[in-house]
Every structure is written in structure tokens, then in C-alpha cells.
């Protein structure tokens, strides 16, 4: 029993964190998000060079072969530095989906190799998300149709952009005509893969939400330490302290739930849906509280476009309903916990 990370996993996270700190500062993200497409090919290829896109591609196909547990750390960094959806969707969610395909699936290995090399952008359209993120630049879009998995090129579908208040998001409504040519896996095999993909998408959001919460907490700490009123830093006032302490509490208690869910997904445990939904709810709750208390301690500055807090708040608000809204995840938890004979109680944390 060892519910902690290895030195290697922690070191890789640290390296990615240091890289993103210098390569993706908020002022640069603002410039990128200001453009129509909202994406920077330069930043993307730099991230690929760091190994991010190869992280969970199987080693035989040129990747690093890491699993959901490693991603539970990496998605926190993507959140902390507000890296737009395309990275997590391609390198984590789509890669997971493609890896789960039967090995004989046409173009499976080719697609995974391309992701590892950093040459491909993937978008994933699961029915739980009415709009699909990052279709506008995607080379390949993986879509669900009656449980089947379809792989289409952007040129062969219709999409209409739906701008979000979160400047980092690029959402589209998709129209496409499923056919024998676009189908890569039938419903019999596809359904399980889609379920797993939904869980992976939800965990990607959960991890990013923790990263966002931590960033908003850090920005808020910086602000309340330097901002003075009544002759002293507002961070010395108990009411302000308690706002931020509560955020720290939520973050610290959501992280282990995220790690437990990542492990359940990596190992294909029977109750993975329950763990993932719990993680999604706990992490998003932490992010929403970090936003609420963050803006409160920033005062009017927090309500401005100019102060960086808004970039992270908006991502936190948006991601809360991405890959399953609260109603979806609460109902999955309720179904599992309230079921007759549900394995709940002290002995079932890791046992039985």
C-alpha cells in the first residue's frame, strides 16, 4: 500500500511546471487568445519537444508509456498555466481512446505516432459535451455515433463556432454524416471505449481544475500581501485569511480523490465511474471556491479584464460543466452510493 507518487513522476511534473512558467506566461496567453484561432503553433511545438504529447503514447509507438496516474499530476500543470483544451484533449483524452482501440484498427498506430511527435491536433466529440472543443484547427476529430467511433477530417464535417466568455475556449457545434468509411470501431467495442473516454475527459478537467484553483489561490495570496488598507496588508485581516484558508482546505482534500480516481481508471477498477465523478465534483468545487473567494479578496480589481485572475476564473467556471456537468456526476455518485448492497463503509476504501 503506497498512495504516493514516484520520484520520477514528481520530477517530470516539476520539469513541465518550470517549462510552462517561462514559456506560457499570462501576458503571452492573452495575445494568443486574442487571435481568431486562439492557438500558437510555436507554443504547441515547444510543449511537444518537452515530451508532453508523447506522455501516454505506448513506448513501442515512440511515446513515454505513462498512465492516468502521471496525468493526474500533469493536468494540474496544464490547469495552473491555463493551457488551452487542445493539449489535454489530444495528448491525454484522444491518446487514451486511440490506445484502447483494437490494435488492428486502421491508422491507429499511425495516429498515435503522430501525436507522440507533436504533429497532430485531435478533437474528441462525446455526446456529454453538446459543443466540441478545438475543432477549428483539428487534423482529426473522433466522434460518437450510436456507440460507434468515427474518425473524420475537419474538411469533411460542418462546424459552427460558439464563442465562450473564456477566451481560451474555442467551441463548435458539429454536423457530420456517419458512414462505413468514417467508422473505425463498431458499437459493440466502441461503447466501453467511449465510457472510458468520458472518464478520462472528466479526470482531465478535474486535474486542470485543481491547477486552476491553486493558481487563483497563489494570485490571491500575492495580492492580499501587497495590497494595504487601514495601514496594513489586507492579508493580515482574519476575514481575508479565512477566505483563503478555506480554498486551501478544498484543494488539499480534493487532490487525493483525484489520485484515487486516476488509479482506478488506469487499473480499470469496477467502481471507476464513482471515483471519477467524485473527483470531478470535488476538484471543480475547489476551483469554484477559489474563484469566488479569489475575486472577493481582489476587490474591484478582481472584476476587471486587466487583472489576470479573470483568465483562470473563467476557465474554472467553464470547465465545471465540461465532460459532464454537476447533475451528471452527482447522479452517477448517487446511483453507486445508494444502490442496494453498495460496498460503502470504512473497510472499502481500498479493501474488499
Amino acid at each position: 500500500m503506497d498512495f504516493t507518487f514516484t520520484e520520477d513522476q514528481l520530477a517530470f511534473r516539476e520539469a513541465i511546471s518550470r517549462f510552462l512558467m517561462t514559456e506560457a506566461p499570462p501576458e503571452m496567453l492573452r495575445e494568443i487568445w486574442d487571435t481568431d484561432d486562439g492557438r500558437s503553433p510555436e507554443l504547441r511545438s515547444k510543449m511537444a519537444a518537452q515530451g508532453l504529447t508523447a506522455l501516454s503514447v505506448p513506448e513501442a509507438l515512440g511515446g513515454l508509456g505513462m498512465d492516468d496516474v502521471a496525468w493526474a499530476l500533469m493536468t494540474q500543470e496544464l490547469g495552473y498555466y491555463a493551457i488551452a483544451d487542445s493539449m489535454a484533449d489530444t495528448a491525454y483524452v484522444a491518446t487514451g481512446l486511440l490506445s484502447a482501440l483494437p490494435e488492428a484498427t486502421p491508422r491507429r498506430d499511425e495516429m498515435l505516432s503522430k501525436i507522440a511527435e507533436g504533429d497532430a491536433r485531435f478533437a474528441v466529440g462525446h455526446p456529454v459535451n453538446p459543443l466540441v472543443a478545438d475543432v477549428h484547427l483539428a487534423d482529426v476529430i473522433l466522434l460518437e455515433h450510436n456507440g460507434e467511433i468515427h474518425s473524420v477530417r475537419r474538411e469533411s464535417i460542418g462546424f459552427e463556432r460558439n464563442p465562450s466568455i473564456d477566451s481560451s475556449r474555442r467551441l463548435s457545434r458539429i454536423t457530420f454524416s456517419p458512414s462505413d468509411e468514417t467508422r473505425i470501431v463498431d458499437a459493440a467495442q466502441g461503447q466501453a471505449i467511449w465510457n472510458q473516454t468520458l472518464n478520462r475527459g472528466a479526470l482531465a478537467v478535474a486535474g486542470q481544475s485543481i491547477g486552476l484553483a491553486q493558481r487563483m489561490l497563489d494570485l490571491s495570496i500575492d495580492y492580499v500581501v501587497q495590497r494595504k488598507q487601514f495601514g496594513k496588508p489586507i492579508g493580515s485581516f482574519q476575514a481575508v485569511k479565512h477566505h483563503l484558508a478555506q480554498v486551501a482546505e478544498k484543494i488539499e482534500f480534493a487532490k487525493p480523490v483525484l489520485y484515487r480516481a486516476a488509479h482506478a481508471l488506469a487499473q480499470g477498477e469496477a467502481n471507476v465511474d464513482l471515483h471519477v465523478s467524485h473527483a470531478k465534483l470535488a476538484c471543480c468545487e475547489a476551483a469554484w471556491l477559489a474563484a469566488r473567494h479569489g475575486i472577493q479578496v481582489h476587490g474591484a480589481m478582481g472584476y476587471t479584464w486587466e487583472v489576470d485572475l479573470q483568465m483562470f476564473m473563467k476557465r474554472a467556471w467553464a470547465l465545471d460543466s465540461s465532460w459532464g456537468d454537476r447533475a451528471f456526476h452527482k447522479s452517477r455518485v448517487a446511483t453507486a452510493v445508494l444502490a442496494d448492497g453498495a460496498p460503502i463503509g470504512p473497510q472499502f476504501t481500498f479493501g474488499e
Binding site: 500500500m1 503506497d2 498512495f3 504516493t4 507518487f5 514516484t6 496516474v69 489561490l217 495570496i221 492580499v224 500581501v225 496594513k232 496588508p233 492579508g235 493580515s236 485581516f237 482574519q238 481575508v240 485569511k241 479565512h242 483563503l244 484558508a245 478555506q246 486551501a248 482546505e249 488539499e252 482534500f253 480534493a254 487532490k255 487525493p256 480523490v257 489520485y259 484515487r260 488509479h263 467524485h278 465534483l281 470535488a282 452527482k330 455518485v333 448517487a334 452510493v337 445508494l338 453498495a342 460503502i344 463503509g345 470504512p346 473497510q347 476504501t349 481500498f350 479493501g351
Partner: protein, 388 residues
Amino acid sequence: MQLTYTAKQQAFRAEVRAWLKANVPSQPLASYDTREGFEEHRAWEGKLYESRLSMVMWPEHLGGRGCDLIEWLIFEEEYYAAGAPMRVNQNGQLLLGPTLMEFGTEEQKRHFLPRIASSEDMWAQGWSEPNAGSDMAAIRSKALREGDEYVINGQKTWSTRAIFADWIFGLFRTDPQSSRHHGLSYLLVPLNSPGVTVRPIKALNGKDAFAEVFFDDVRVPVGNRIGGDGQGWHVAMATAGFERGLLLRSPARFQQTAKRLVDLYKAHPEVAERDPGLRDAVIESWMGAEAYAHSAYHTVGLVEKGAKIGAEASINKIVWSELDLKMHETAMRILGPYGELNGYAPEAVEHGNWLEGFLFAQAGPIYAGTNEIQRNIIAERMLGLPKA
């Protein structure tokens, strides 16, 4: 990350489970806030001790069985799942015990620890005073050195079950010129010493759950001091850390309450229909208890790798105390007009256990350092915010 138990850990779980199945009393013991119940619980502790199950983490020669932290979590899981009696000597076992382990002399350890493990000695704590609550450094009770003795004068309060206990530990001012956290010493005092008067304070449940303790020229040998003269604050803070942290309230206790709450909710579908918000409250309770368990295993893993528990202990205390309140509030919503019935009322539900738990849950955010104090600690020590 490797989330399976070893064969040794599984065998330990099986042993504990079998022992509890054979030994947990079929009828609940009387409340340990009464003299009768207190002695029933002491006898139960003695039974645990005979099988070396009262303090599983302590070394064998001090009355335990040398378990690691994972095995301790396993023990707790089985203990609460079995519905075994509440632990009556937590002051001694979980507050004083770890302090003795860290700061006690070899002689003190060998004398006191086995007697604490067996509950032959029951302990009360003496931190608070009428004018030293959250501001504990305002302690005024004095212990002045005379030869090989300290002579104690002053008053302690909020000492849980002190009218039934045998000993009290606490902080006393041994340097009369000192102020705040300087000049305090950590002393152990027999409650039957001449000059000690213990006066019960009736708690919310109507029982003598805590007490004030008066000291009039009470003499204790210098050997009853833990740590150096004037080092009491440092020694006590270590104990306070343990108290807030994991040991005092293991996740299993709350997971068991969450499970009982789920059962209660499912047994009252008519209330659930009239109050649809209950479903959220119930599953949030389950999620909260489960998150605490995950956090505990994660922390234990880090501690086994050499990490120290710091201000995180304050987060634990806030989380379990607020969770406990929430769960019992939810139970009261479900019980509706039956919630207020005392355990002896003919129509009481589950012997009034939910009511008893609801009352005790009110104290959670207050004892062991109020949650406001805990949040100050988090803000200043974890987040680095400036002191007021």
C-alpha cells in the same frame, strides 16, 4: 502508487475483524459521560489491551504491537465498522501518549505508557483556564519549585470527564516572572492529590461530560515534568498537533457515520420525496468521509517516506469537524419530529444515537482549537499571510 494490502496487512485485518466479532458487546455500553459508563468503557479498554489491541502502533514493550500507520488505519476501519464502543481514554492514549514517546524519559515511558494502554490510568487534560481559551499562552496557573517538588495553584477548565479520571496533564507557569509562551512546564498530576478539587460542568447532553479543576498547594515531584523546565509550550504544541491531526479522529469513524446516514436515508423514502435536497446532502456526506480517507492514506504514505505533518493537521481538524456536523444535521432533517427524542424515549430511533452525535458534533468546531484558530494557522503557516 500501489494500492493493495500486503498479505501481512490482510492477515492483520482478518485477525482484528475476528476478534471484534467475538468480543464487541452486543448491547451498547452506558454513556462514558456517566460514572457507570466510564467504568464499563475502562473494562472494555482493558479487554482490548489484553489482546494488545488498544494501542496497536505502540512498541510491544510499552503495551502495543508495533504496527505501522497503514495497519493502524486498517485497525480503525475494522473497529468502527464493527460498531465497537467509543474510546474513553483518548486523552491519555492519543494526546499524552505521543508526547511521552517524544519527550518522556525512559523511566516515564516505562511507567506511564503501559498503564495508559491498559487504561489502568485514565487521563484528563488541563489546557484551558477561565481566561486562557483560544489564547492558551495566557495561562496563569502556577507551579513553583520547592526542592524536588512543584507546588501548584490555579484553575483549569473544560477538562473532559475529569470527575471520573485518575490523572491530569497540562501546562503550568513554573517561572512566575515569565509571560506568554515562555516559562511554562508540562506537568502530570494525580487527581487524588491533596488540594485538588474537581467540579463537574454539565454539558449540552445533560451529563457531567467535563469539569473544572482547582489546585490549592498541590505538590507533585519534579519527576512528573515532561521535557525541560520552561519547555512546556514546545512540548504541548507537539501534542496539540497530534490532537488536531489524524490520530484523534481517524477517517473510519466518519465513514461509518456516512454509511449509517445512507442507510437512514434509504429507510425514509417518504422524507426524501418531500425534501429532494436531502439526496445531495447524503451523497456529499459520503464523498466528504471518503475524501478524508483518501487524504489519510496519502498523508500516511508521505509520512512513511519521511515527511512531517505540519499545518495540514489544521485542515484535517476543520474538515472532520465540519463533516461530522453536516452528517448529523442531515440525519436530524431525515428524522424530523423524532430527532429530538432522548435515547430513553419509547419512540426514540436507534437509541437516540443520532441526537447524541448531533449534540457532540456541535463541539467539534470548538474543541482541540477552534476552527477559526485553525484557519489562522493555515493562513499564516501554510499560505504565508502576515500576522494580525
